[in-house]
């Protein structure tokens, strides 16, 4: 598949139909390819099970540069592409998308495989590309589970705990946070030009978690701001140097939204109104449902 991709990329670069190619470049280890833009040749372009990055996030950066960009997107990355498209952060005509098959991304620690796949790949149901101009090798995409509810298992486990246990669990996780903002910057919808936490204009600027409250505040507000926009692409959990299971926060909002307001997959299309910019006069539950459902 990699060879097919390189050939296609080189062809489009040379015939000028695209100005740059966004893919992965060989790292100095076999296991650490890095996202890169190719403008002349694609010799050291690679595509394997270590290419984890969600390249849609980088399309925002090149939006202003002239010329088209050829980008290779895994099925789950295409949801993020649609989400960015819906919020006018990128334009469809500036991208030539080749959907590539994905056999699951391997977890790397100290440049070695740990034998496991990324958390999102173990519960992956996003096997179809949402938006693409061309497909390469889409049949290799591994089908993990048909039951879309497997991804909520860990959340149900936490929900079953009593309030004290939940608080202790999250206190333990949040206390590990060093506010490196990797989760924020790697998250396609969480890409404000100026984040409220960096912006002293609104008295909410916060550079470090000075107290346990600020740890909670950062993660609650970050998850809240992407609620209804998060495509569950798993980048936040992957990039967190402290291995905090951040997907458990965003996916909790997804679980609530699906339960309360009907099944919604961000990035599935660019028309449907996001759950938090929409309402249903008679069916929306009252906030007290949170207290009644035990």
């Amino acid at each position: 598949m990699q060879e097919l991709m390189k050939a296609k990329a080189q062809e489009m670069l040379s015939n000028g139909s695209v100005t740059r190619v966004l893919a992965w470049k060989k790292g100095d280890f076999e296991t650490n390819p890095e996202p890169a833009f190719f403008t002349k040749h694609v010799d050291d372009m690679v595509y394997n099970q270590y290419c984890a990055t969600n390249l849609s996030n980088f399309m925002v950066g090149v939006e202003k540069e002239e010329g088209k960009t050829l980008v290779f997107l895994k099925p789950c990355d295409t949801f993020s592409f649609n989400q960015l498209l819906k919020e006018n952060r990128i334009s469809r005509d500036k991208a030539y998308i080749i959907g590539v098959g994905c056999e699951g991304v391997k977890v790397i620690d100290e440049m070695q495989e740990t034998g496991a796949l990324l958390e999102k790949c173990n519960v992956c149901t996003k096997i179809k590309h949402m938006v693409y101009d061309e497909l390469i090798g889409e049949d290799v995409t591994r089908r993990v589970t048909d039951d879309p509810l497997t991804r909520f298992k860990d959340i149900e486990a936490i929900e079953k705990m009593d309030a004290g246990e939940r608080f202790a669990f999250w206190q333990g996780e949040f206390s590990k946070c060093i506010r490196c903002n990797a989760c924020r910057n790697a998250c396609p919808p969480c890409g404000c030009k100026k984040c409220v936490f960096d912006n002293d204009n609104y008295d909410t600027a916060q550079k470090a978690n000075v107290t346990t409250f600020e740890e909670q505040m950062f993660h609650i507000i970050r998850a809240y701001h992407v609620a209804g926009r998060c495509t569950d692409c798993g980048e936040c959990t992957r990039v967190c140097p402290q291995d905090i299971p951040l997907h458990l926060l965003n996916r909790k909002f997804i679980k609530d939204i699906n339960a309360l307001y009907g099944e919604f997959q961000a990035g599935a299309d660019i028309e449907t109104l996001g759950p938090l910019t929409d309402f249903n006069i008679d069916q929306d539950a009252e906030p007290s449902i949170v207290y009644d459902r035990g």
Binding site: G27, D28, F29, N32, P33, E34, P35, A36, F37, T53, N57, F58, G61, D109, E110, M111, Q112, K176, I178, R179, C180, N181, A182, R184, N185, A186, K194, D198, A205, K207, A208, N209, V210, E235, R238, V239, P241, Q242, D243
Partner: protein, 345 residues
Amino acid sequence: MYKIDKDNLPELFKFLTKNGTDVFAPVRKGNQVNFESFTDEVASTLDLDTLKTVRSPKDFVLPQVEHLFDATIENKQIKLETSPLADKPYVIFGVRPCDVKGIEVLDNVYLKDPVDKFYQARRAQGVIISLACTNPQQTCFCKSFNIDAANPQGDIAIWLINDSLNWKSLTDKGANLTTQVKHLLQESSDIDEVEACQKDIQLKIDALPYSRGLPLDKFTPDKLLEIFNDARWDELSKACIACGTCTFICPTCQCYDVKDYDAGKKVKRYRCWDSCMYSDFTLMAHGNSRNTQKERFRQRYMHKLVYHPDKHHGEFSCVGCGRCVNKCPSSLNIVKVIKSFEVDN
């Protein structure tokens, strides 16, 4: 040279804690090993085998958040109250040679005048017990910065050889700690056991992929402008997502920002780690002198490889611990940067 069995380490720690010295040792929690305060509960999860802790021991000398002073206002009169300096002795056990050098790099910055009295107080209270790296990892490249993983520095050096620790104090701080715990140590003279272990470590280090020597000679202060204006920075920095991971886990990154917090009844001024990767780093009255990510990315490596050595007689502000190699979301790191300057264009 002394010896102590690995199993009665906890007893040693308990002894130290009893007479007023905090003990921090690498403890495994989930799949992460970090320096934690040593208590009975964590005794079982003491982990001397994992090479590197996720967060560097920098935390103990330059914590992420440090309160400087409180300002209160009484009937329109302002009163300042500075925070007390660190006054409790502590021991950090199991510091790897690269991290020991990292702390030394920080010393060269914070203890030169004007001396940072908060840092100085913390540093004075601390005793560093280093541990030789019996199994270095792929991402290590401390050799390039002529750090000898085989004989670690710090106040006390330790070699862990089949479950017994060879304990050698190097400084007087180390010496008087050794006298304190003398009754738990046994005299030992078999130096050759240690030397064998050192040779074994050096062999392993040489076999590491990064050990065949990085072209650090390209980075000399006089080439500053040439490197600064090099075109490669564009391409190198394209994939950087401007998060602060590399700076916060790096043992030698030393920049901080000073912030105020209005806590209602008083205003608390504190300093906290800052990252040159952030958009509001070096945000001055007129704005930010580095507006693009390329400039911020370049600043980080120029500081580590050119500006810092220029001011500290050639000492690089990197100790080759490899944490950034392992943790960068886009797999960028200092090794790739150095290697990319191998061939001058």
